[in-house]
Amino acid sequence: MNTQAQYLKTIYLVQEETDGPASTGDIADNIGVSPASANEMIGKLESRGLAEHEKYKGVSLTDEGIGHARDALQTYCIIERFLLEVLEVEEFQAEARQLESVIDETVAERLDTIIDRADCCPDCFDAGTDACELLEVDVSTEPAD
Protein backbone atom coordinates (compact mmCIF):
# COMPACT_ATOMS: atom_id res chain seq x y z
CA MET A 1 0.00 0.00 0.00
CA ASN A 2 1.55 3.30 -1.01
CA THR A 3 1.73 6.51 1.03
CA GLN A 4 -1.30 8.04 -0.66
CA ALA A 5 -3.40 5.00 0.21
CA GLN A 6 -2.27 5.15 3.85
CA TYR A 7 -3.32 8.80 4.08
CA LEU A 8 -6.68 8.16 2.46
CA LYS A 9 -7.36 5.26 4.83
CA THR A 10 -6.41 7.36 7.83
CA ILE A 11 -8.52 10.37 6.82
CA TYR A 12 -11.46 8.07 6.16
CA LEU A 13 -11.19 6.48 9.62
CA VAL A 14 -10.74 9.81 11.41
CA GLN A 15 -13.77 11.19 9.57
CA GLU A 16 -15.82 8.14 10.53
CA GLU A 17 -14.78 8.46 14.16
CA THR A 18 -15.41 12.20 14.49
CA ASP A 19 -18.36 12.27 12.08
CA GLY A 20 -16.90 15.34 10.37
CA PRO A 21 -13.80 16.66 8.64
CA ALA A 22 -10.47 15.30 9.88
CA SER A 23 -8.03 17.74 11.45
CA THR A 24 -4.47 17.84 10.15
CA GLY A 25 -3.23 17.16 13.69
CA ASP A 26 -5.29 13.98 14.02
CA ILE A 27 -4.15 12.76 10.61
CA ALA A 28 -0.49 13.46 11.44
CA ASP A 29 -0.80 11.74 14.85
CA ASN A 30 -2.40 8.65 13.38
CA ILE A 31 0.22 8.25 10.68
CA GLY A 32 3.11 9.25 12.91
CA VAL A 33 4.40 12.16 10.83
CA SER A 34 4.76 15.89 11.44
CA PRO A 35 1.79 18.19 10.67
CA ALA A 36 3.93 19.81 7.95
CA SER A 37 4.38 16.44 6.20
CA ALA A 38 0.67 15.71 6.56
CA ASN A 39 -0.17 19.11 5.07
CA GLU A 40 2.05 18.47 2.09
CA MET A 41 0.32 15.16 1.34
CA ILE A 42 -3.13 16.65 1.90
CA GLY A 43 -2.28 19.27 -0.72
CA LYS A 44 -1.41 16.49 -3.17
CA LEU A 45 -4.67 14.68 -2.42
CA GLU A 46 -6.56 17.92 -3.08
CA SER A 47 -4.82 18.48 -6.41
CA ARG A 48 -5.72 14.91 -7.41
CA GLY A 49 -9.39 15.49 -6.60
CA LEU A 50 -9.39 12.99 -3.73
CA ALA A 51 -9.86 15.38 -0.81
CA GLU A 52 -11.05 18.87 0.06
CA HIS A 53 -9.37 20.99 2.72
CA GLU A 54 -11.31 23.77 4.37
CA LYS A 55 -9.36 26.16 6.57
CA TYR A 56 -10.14 25.84 10.32
CA LYS A 57 -12.47 22.89 9.62
CA GLY A 58 -10.30 20.10 8.29
CA VAL A 59 -10.08 17.57 5.48
CA SER A 60 -12.96 15.71 3.85
CA LEU A 61 -12.60 13.02 1.22
CA THR A 62 -14.39 13.36 -2.10
CA ASP A 63 -16.46 10.41 -3.38
CA GLU A 64 -13.46 9.25 -5.40
CA GLY A 65 -11.25 9.59 -2.33
CA ILE A 66 -13.69 7.55 -0.26
CA GLY A 67 -13.62 4.78 -2.86
CA HIS A 68 -9.81 4.62 -2.77
CA ALA A 69 -9.81 4.83 1.05
CA ARG A 70 -12.19 1.88 1.36
CA ASP A 71 -9.98 -0.18 -0.99
CA ALA A 72 -6.96 0.68 1.15
CA LEU A 73 -8.83 -0.24 4.33
CA GLN A 74 -9.80 -3.55 2.78
CA THR A 75 -6.16 -4.28 1.97
CA TYR A 76 -5.28 -3.46 5.57
CA CYS A 77 -8.03 -5.80 6.83
CA ILE A 78 -6.66 -8.61 4.64
CA ILE A 79 -3.17 -8.10 6.09
CA GLU A 80 -4.48 -8.13 9.66
CA ARG A 81 -6.65 -11.18 9.17
CA PHE A 82 -3.86 -13.02 7.32
CA LEU A 83 -1.38 -12.32 10.13
CA LEU A 84 -3.82 -13.55 12.75
CA GLU A 85 -5.45 -16.50 10.99
CA VAL A 86 -2.56 -17.89 8.96
CA LEU A 87 0.65 -16.83 10.70
CA GLU A 88 -0.99 -16.69 14.16
CA VAL A 89 0.65 -13.39 15.04
CA GLU A 90 -0.62 -12.20 18.42
CA GLU A 91 0.32 -8.57 17.88
CA PHE A 92 -1.28 -8.53 14.46
CA GLN A 93 -2.33 -4.88 14.64
CA ALA A 94 1.22 -3.68 15.32
CA GLU A 95 2.65 -5.85 12.57
CA ALA A 96 -0.06 -4.91 10.08
CA ARG A 97 0.85 -1.28 10.60
CA GLN A 98 4.50 -2.08 9.90
CA LEU A 99 3.67 -4.14 6.83
CA GLU A 100 0.94 -2.04 5.24
CA SER A 101 3.48 0.08 3.41
CA VAL A 102 5.25 -3.07 2.27
CA ILE A 103 2.37 -5.21 1.01
CA ASP A 104 1.00 -4.31 -2.38
CA GLU A 105 -2.75 -4.67 -2.98
CA THR A 106 -2.18 -7.35 -5.63
CA VAL A 107 -0.26 -9.40 -3.06
CA ALA A 108 -3.05 -8.82 -0.54
CA GLU A 109 -5.57 -10.11 -3.10
CA ARG A 110 -3.68 -13.40 -3.30
CA LEU A 111 -3.49 -13.67 0.48
CA ASP A 112 -7.23 -13.04 0.48
CA THR A 113 -7.76 -16.38 -1.30
CA ILE A 114 -6.92 -18.29 1.89
CA ILE A 115 -8.61 -16.23 4.59
CA ASP A 116 -12.21 -16.07 5.67
CA ARG A 117 -13.27 -12.45 5.25
CA ALA A 118 -16.88 -11.30 5.50
CA ASP A 119 -18.72 -9.63 2.61
CA CYS A 120 -19.34 -6.56 4.75
CA CYS A 121 -15.60 -5.76 4.83
CA PRO A 122 -14.42 -3.02 5.40
CA ASP A 123 -17.56 -1.76 7.16
CA CYS A 124 -16.85 -4.09 10.08
CA PHE A 125 -13.54 -2.37 10.82
CA ASP A 126 -13.41 -0.76 14.25
CA ALA A 127 -11.00 2.18 14.32
CA GLY A 128 -11.03 2.15 18.13
CA THR A 129 -9.40 -1.28 18.37
CA ASP A 130 -7.66 -0.97 15.00
CA ALA A 131 -9.15 -4.32 13.99
CA CYS A 132 -12.14 -5.95 12.34
CA GLU A 133 -14.88 -6.34 14.93
CA LEU A 134 -15.66 -9.82 13.55
CA LEU A 135 -12.21 -11.19 14.42
CA GLU A 136 -12.48 -13.78 17.13
CA VAL A 137 -9.80 -12.44 19.41
CA ASP A 138 -9.48 -10.21 22.38
CA VAL A 139 -8.85 -6.87 20.74
CA SER A 140 -9.29 -4.88 23.90
CA THR A 141 -5.59 -4.09 23.99
CA GLU A 142 -4.37 -0.72 22.85
CA PRO A 143 -3.63 -0.49 19.14
CA ALA A 144 0.04 -0.21 18.29
CA ASP A 145 1.70 3.07 17.41
Binding site: M1, N2, F82, V86, L87, I103, D104, T106, E109, T113
Partner: protein, 161 residues
Protein backbone atom coordinates in the same frame (compact mmCIF):
# COMPACT_ATOMS: atom_id res chain seq x y z
CA UNK B 1 6.03 1.38 -6.11
CA UNK B 2 4.49 -0.09 -3.02
CA UNK B 3 7.55 -0.64 -0.85
CA UNK B 4 8.08 2.91 0.26
CA UNK B 5 10.02 1.91 3.35
CA UNK B 6 13.17 -0.16 3.63
CA UNK B 7 13.09 -3.42 5.58
CA UNK B 8 13.84 -2.34 9.13
CA UNK B 9 14.76 -5.47 11.09
CA UNK B 10 15.45 -9.21 11.02
CA UNK B 11 11.95 -9.74 12.35
CA UNK B 12 10.32 -7.81 9.52
CA UNK B 13 12.51 -9.57 6.96
CA UNK B 14 11.54 -12.96 8.36
CA UNK B 15 7.86 -12.00 8.25
CA UNK B 16 8.14 -10.92 4.60
CA UNK B 17 9.93 -14.14 3.69
CA UNK B 18 7.16 -16.09 5.44
CA UNK B 19 4.64 -14.22 3.29
CA UNK B 20 6.72 -15.20 0.24
CA UNK B 21 6.55 -18.83 1.39
CA UNK B 22 2.77 -18.61 1.70
CA UNK B 23 2.46 -17.10 -1.79
CA UNK B 24 4.50 -20.02 -3.17
CA UNK B 25 2.38 -22.50 -1.24
CA UNK B 26 -0.81 -20.93 -2.58
CA UNK B 27 0.51 -21.32 -6.15
CA UNK B 28 1.48 -24.92 -5.53
CA UNK B 29 -1.78 -25.87 -3.82
CA UNK B 30 -3.97 -24.09 -6.40
CA UNK B 31 -2.10 -25.76 -9.27
CA UNK B 32 -2.77 -29.18 -7.70
CA UNK B 33 -6.38 -28.22 -7.06
CA UNK B 34 -6.94 -27.07 -10.66
CA UNK B 35 -5.52 -30.34 -11.94
CA UNK B 36 -7.60 -32.38 -9.52
CA UNK B 37 -10.82 -30.47 -10.30
CA UNK B 38 -10.58 -30.22 -14.07
CA UNK B 39 -9.04 -33.64 -14.57
CA UNK B 40 -5.75 -34.54 -16.24
CA UNK B 41 -7.47 -36.33 -19.14
CA UNK B 42 -9.66 -33.42 -20.22
CA UNK B 43 -7.07 -30.71 -19.75
CA UNK B 44 -4.92 -29.51 -22.63
CA UNK B 45 -1.46 -31.11 -22.42
CA UNK B 46 0.19 -27.70 -22.41
CA UNK B 47 -1.91 -26.59 -19.43
CA UNK B 48 -1.12 -29.80 -17.55
CA UNK B 49 2.59 -29.17 -18.13
CA UNK B 50 2.19 -25.56 -17.05
CA UNK B 51 0.45 -26.55 -13.81
CA UNK B 52 3.02 -29.22 -13.06
CA UNK B 53 5.87 -26.83 -13.78
CA UNK B 54 4.32 -24.12 -11.60
CA UNK B 55 3.83 -26.51 -8.68
CA UNK B 56 7.38 -27.88 -8.94
CA UNK B 57 8.88 -24.43 -9.22
CA UNK B 58 6.92 -23.13 -6.24
CA UNK B 59 8.01 -26.10 -4.14
CA UNK B 60 11.61 -25.33 -5.04
CA UNK B 61 11.20 -21.61 -4.21
CA UNK B 62 9.50 -22.52 -0.95
CA UNK B 63 12.50 -24.64 0.01
CA UNK B 64 14.91 -21.80 -0.72
CA UNK B 65 12.84 -19.30 1.28
CA UNK B 66 12.59 -21.80 4.11
CA UNK B 67 16.40 -21.94 4.33
CA UNK B 68 16.47 -18.15 4.71
CA UNK B 69 13.69 -18.16 7.30
CA UNK B 70 15.49 -20.88 9.26
CA UNK B 71 18.67 -18.84 9.29
CA UNK B 72 16.72 -15.93 10.74
CA UNK B 73 15.57 -18.25 13.52
CA UNK B 74 11.90 -17.85 12.58
CA UNK B 75 9.23 -20.50 12.01
CA UNK B 76 8.41 -21.77 8.55
CA UNK B 77 4.85 -22.05 7.32
CA UNK B 78 3.79 -25.68 6.85
CA UNK B 79 2.57 -26.44 3.31
CA UNK B 80 -0.16 -28.73 4.63
CA UNK B 81 -1.74 -25.83 6.52
CA UNK B 82 -1.89 -23.63 3.43
CA UNK B 83 -3.13 -26.54 1.31
CA UNK B 84 -6.09 -26.91 3.68
CA UNK B 85 -6.88 -23.19 3.52
CA UNK B 86 -6.69 -23.16 -0.27
CA UNK B 87 -9.03 -26.15 -0.46
CA UNK B 88 -11.51 -24.50 1.92
CA UNK B 89 -11.78 -21.33 -0.19
CA UNK B 90 -11.32 -22.85 -3.65
CA UNK B 91 -14.02 -22.08 -6.21
CA UNK B 92 -14.66 -25.22 -8.19
CA UNK B 93 -16.22 -23.58 -11.24
CA UNK B 94 -12.86 -22.52 -12.65
CA UNK B 95 -12.62 -23.32 -16.38
CA UNK B 96 -9.54 -23.74 -18.62
CA UNK B 97 -9.15 -20.05 -19.36
CA UNK B 98 -9.78 -19.32 -15.67
CA UNK B 99 -6.90 -21.63 -14.79
CA UNK B 100 -4.56 -19.78 -17.12
CA UNK B 101 -5.68 -16.41 -15.81
CA UNK B 102 -5.18 -17.63 -12.24
CA UNK B 103 -1.68 -18.80 -13.09
CA UNK B 104 -0.92 -15.45 -14.70
CA UNK B 105 -2.09 -13.64 -11.53
CA UNK B 106 0.07 -15.97 -9.44
CA UNK B 107 3.19 -15.29 -11.47
CA UNK B 108 2.60 -11.54 -11.73
CA UNK B 109 1.86 -11.22 -8.02
CA UNK B 110 4.94 -13.20 -7.08
CA UNK B 111 7.11 -11.14 -9.44
CA UNK B 112 5.78 -7.89 -7.95
CA UNK B 113 6.29 -9.16 -4.41
CA UNK B 114 9.93 -10.19 -4.97
CA UNK B 115 10.70 -7.08 -6.97
CA UNK B 116 9.39 -4.85 -4.16
CA UNK B 117 11.13 -6.95 -1.50
CA UNK B 118 14.49 -6.74 -3.27
CA UNK B 119 14.13 -2.96 -3.61
CA UNK B 120 13.23 -2.65 0.08
CA UNK B 121 16.24 -4.74 1.13
CA UNK B 122 18.53 -2.76 -1.17
CA UNK B 123 17.17 0.42 0.43
CA UNK B 124 17.88 -0.81 3.94
CA UNK B 125 21.18 -0.23 5.74
CA UNK B 126 20.30 -2.76 8.46
CA UNK B 127 22.85 -5.49 8.98
CA UNK B 128 20.77 -8.68 8.91
CA UNK B 129 21.98 -11.80 10.68
CA UNK B 130 21.96 -13.60 7.35
CA UNK B 131 24.38 -12.90 4.55
CA UNK B 132 22.97 -10.04 2.48
CA UNK B 133 24.57 -11.28 -0.74
CA UNK B 134 23.06 -14.77 -0.35
CA UNK B 135 19.69 -13.24 0.50
CA UNK B 136 19.63 -10.94 -2.53
CA UNK B 137 20.99 -13.57 -4.92
CA UNK B 138 18.30 -16.00 -3.85
CA UNK B 139 15.52 -13.45 -4.22
CA UNK B 140 16.79 -12.22 -7.59
CA UNK B 141 16.89 -15.77 -8.96
CA UNK B 142 13.37 -16.41 -7.75
CA UNK B 143 12.22 -13.10 -9.27
CA UNK B 144 13.78 -14.12 -12.60
CA UNK B 145 11.84 -17.40 -12.51
CA UNK B 146 8.61 -15.49 -11.86
CA UNK B 147 9.29 -13.14 -14.77
CA UNK B 148 9.90 -16.16 -17.04
CA UNK B 149 6.68 -17.64 -15.67
CA UNK B 150 4.67 -14.57 -16.67
CA UNK B 151 6.10 -14.84 -20.19
CA UNK B 152 5.30 -18.57 -20.43
CA UNK B 153 1.68 -18.14 -19.35
CA UNK B 154 1.20 -15.13 -21.62
CA UNK B 155 2.59 -17.09 -24.59
CA UNK B 156 0.25 -19.99 -23.88
CA UNK B 157 -2.74 -17.66 -23.59
CA UNK B 158 -1.87 -16.03 -26.91
CA UNK B 159 -1.59 -19.40 -28.63
CA UNK B 160 -5.09 -20.30 -27.43
CA UNK B 161 -6.67 -17.14 -28.83
Amino acid sequence: MSLTHPVASDHQLARLLQIGMVLEEVVEARAHKHYETLGGETLDKNIVNLLKGAADESAEHRGRLESLVDELDADSVAYEEIEKLVAAQYESDTDFDGVLYDQLCNEETAYKFYDDLITAIEGSDIEFTIDRRWLLETLREIRRDERDGVEDVTALMERRE
